[in-house]
């Protein structure tokens, strides 16, 4: 009886939608409930409005305007004339564009899986009991916390300055000093390594978050059944953290494709465009060659690809969470 009474009492005072109170069928309480429901929707509207306005004005409007610019031959100051798809065809026909596509793909694959492998490895290590484990956890996040401007300067000094320690090591060994940022292949490798160095802490945090949800007893059980460490890793760790891993790959892919400072500050896109990704390519077209149309066309092509891919991936994430 008491539960029914309290339920009625709460209903009489008008419990909001989604509440556990059972509204009585009397008219007044129904009215109150719907009034509160109306209030809820209205409040939600006002609560989300600033965010929507910001998104529309600062993210949405420029997207549409970018579409206009991509089909004009203007500059930053002058709108120019309508040229249809000329910018797109000229971009798609240029060798430099496809080279940038190629580098973007390599950079993204190395960036995502390199940082994931390192991040997951460290997260697994830090999960076990280690002296001063908490300190290591914080120290290992530093590459991600330190501004790229600072770390790229440090890397520049390490690999490219005449009095850097790497040079001294190579000279001491009697070897010729490798031109880390001047040789096209080496520069590409260095930039990719730099990206892994910057990004692994993020993957470490994501992995550590996922690993805390895995119950330790599962491992104990598996090891009693004679499962090797590797079998435990592939049979338990990977499947149980699969969803979070998948999400972290998606986020990191987006971060890598859209990355600008990591590449631009280390190499500026050179040597001979060897480390020019699509974003760097677009930036240089607009702000160095002053070809706004083609530059925005590149950005626009990326945008369309990313909208399609991210919508599909978003569906995929949601589906995986339902299962």
């Amino acid at each position: 009886m008491t539960t029914v009474n309290s339920g009625l009492a709460r209903a009489r005072r008008g419990v909001a939608p989604g509440g556990s109170g059972r509204p009585s069928p009397s008219r007044t309480s129904l009215n109150r409930a719907s009034k509160l429901h109306g209030q809820t929707s209205r409040t939600y509207f006002w609560l989300i409005l600033p965010s929507v306005l910001l998104l529309v004005l600062i993210n949405g409007y420029p997207l549409i305007y970018a579409g206009v610019q991509a089909t004009h031959d203007g500059s930053l100051i002058d709108a120019g004339n309508f040229v249809g798809v000329d910018n797109f065809t000229s971009v798609l026909g240029s060798e430099a564009f496809w080279k940038a596509v190629q580098f973007t793909i390599v950079f993204t694959i190395v960036g995502v899986f390199g940082s994931w492998a390192v991040g997951l490895g460290l997260a697994l290590l830090l999960r076990t009991r280690i002296p001063a484990g908490g300190l290591f956890k914080v120290l290992l996040l530093l590459p991600w916390v330190v501004p790229i401007v600072v770390s790229s300067t440090a890397w520049n000094w390490l690999v490219a300055s005449p009095d850097s320690p790497t040079n001294k090591v190579f000279t001491a060994l009697g070897l010729e000093t490798p031109l880390f940022l001047a040789d096209p292949t080496l520069a590409a490798i260095t930039v990719c390594l730099f990206k892994v160095w910057v990004s692994f802490p993020f993957m470490m945090m994501m992995s550590a978050g996922a690993l805390t949800s895995v119950d330790n007893t599962v491992y104990e059980a598996a090891s009693m059944d004679g499962a090797s460490r590797w079998q435990q890793f592939t049979g338990i760790t990977l499947p149980l953290t699969a969803r979070s891993t998948y999400i972290s790959w998606i986020l990191m892919t987006i971060f890598c494709v859209n990355d600008f400072p990591t590449i631009y500050l280390l190499t500026g896109g050179g040597p001979v465009d060897a480390t020019t990704s699509l974003v760097v390519y677009a930036y240089r077209k607009v702000f160095q060659d002053f070809q706004t149309g083609p530059g925005v066309a590149v950005a626009f092509l990326m945008t369309i690809t990313l909208v399609i891919v991210s919508t599909l991936l978003y569906r995929q994430i949601r589906k995986s969470s339902v299962e």
């Binding site: 939600y44 993210n59 914080v138 790229i148 950005a299």
Partner: protein
């Protein structure tokens, strides 16, 4: 699942005993201890290698320049850099922009995150998809049109201009982070306040937000790092030396004085101390793990 059941029926001797609560007591065997020290050595080595670039910055900043008569460690690089550059102005600019971004983006993302967390309608999940799509777009696409728009509004070479762009670019992740935190707060708390006659907005402010300090701090740290570290937006929108934020200032100084490593690194230290300080102080609140759940949850 059968393997799990085994543990409760027959724990083999020597592997581990279960106490009354069913919790395992760790056997500290010699092999276990040795494994622990191996892992410690491994992680120590990895951490040392990882921190080499950051260590290099600090060491170079406190070493005297080759032309200088000073020996040992010195702070003259720092005083020098503040004398001959606008470092103090850049530092102030960066602080103003970053703090403004943090405050505004939490103020906008918290209510939006609340709606995302509690709202069940189609429109809300549509907005969540929109946030995800916006997050995935290259910022360069919107930077060029915004540059033209801001030029007309007088917001180019203006700290307010880049603050607006920063707030907009934190929006997606900040909203997810807030929503993820609100998800962990039971709805029954709000229901109780509604019964006490509180409005929906009132209960959001007084009940939900009041209990969300870790979520707010987490979002604030994220916004702080984004605004403090950004380079692309700053290099496009800021033109004159006295309006530069630290990233642009440091980079321009580096390009002009590439051989004066002491001064360059002193400036770099000035730039990396605030984010490290913020992170060290508030690290326990920061969690990116929630983003995943927040993305998948709705």
């Amino acid at each position: 699942m059968s393997t799990v059941l085994h543990t409760h029926t027959a724990p083999p001797a020597g592997v581990g005993q279960f106490n009354a609560n069913g919790r395992k007591r760790r056997p500290v065997s010699e092999a276990g201890m040795r494994g622990r020290w191996w892992r410690f050595a491994l992680i120590l080595a990895v951490t040392a290698v990882v921190l080499v670039p950051i260590g290099a910055v600090v060491v170079l900043a406190v070493l005297p320049a080759s032309a200088s008569s000073t020996t040992g460690l010195t702070l003259e690089n720092f005083s020098g850099v503040f004398e001959k550059t606008l470092a103090s102005t850049w530092l102030a600019n960066s602080l103003v922009v970053t703090l403004a971004t943090v405050v505004v983006s939490v103020a906008v993302a918290a209510p939006a995150g609340y709606v995302l967390s509690r709202g069940k309608s189609k429109a809300v999940s549509g907005y969540s998809l929109l946030l995800f799509v916006m997050q995935s777009l290259p910022i360069i696409t919107s930077v060029v049109p915004l540059f033209i728009l801001f030029a007309n509004l007088g917001l180019v070479d203006n700290l307010l201009g880049i603050t607006i762009v920063y707030v907009a670019s934190t929006m997606s992740v900040a909203t997810w982070m807030m929503a993820a935190y609100f998800d962990s707060i039971p709805v029954s708390l709000e229901e109780a306040s509604w019964i006490d006659g509180c409005s929906v907005f009132g209960s959001f402010l007084k009940v939900v937000l009041r209990n969300s300090l870790p979520g707010v701090l987490s979002t604030a740290i994220f916004a702080f790092l984004l605004a403090w570290n950004d380079y692309l937006v700053a290099i496009v929108f800021l033109r004159s030396n006295e309006i530069f934020t630290l990233p642009v200032g440091v980079q321009s100084f580096f390009q002009q004085n590439a051989t004066d490593w002491g001064s360059v690194m002193a400036l770099a230290v000035v730039m990396m101390v605030p984010p490290i300080f913020v992170f060290a102080a508030l690290n326990k609140y920061f969690s990116v793990g929630g983003i995943g759940g927040s993305l998948a949850g709705r």
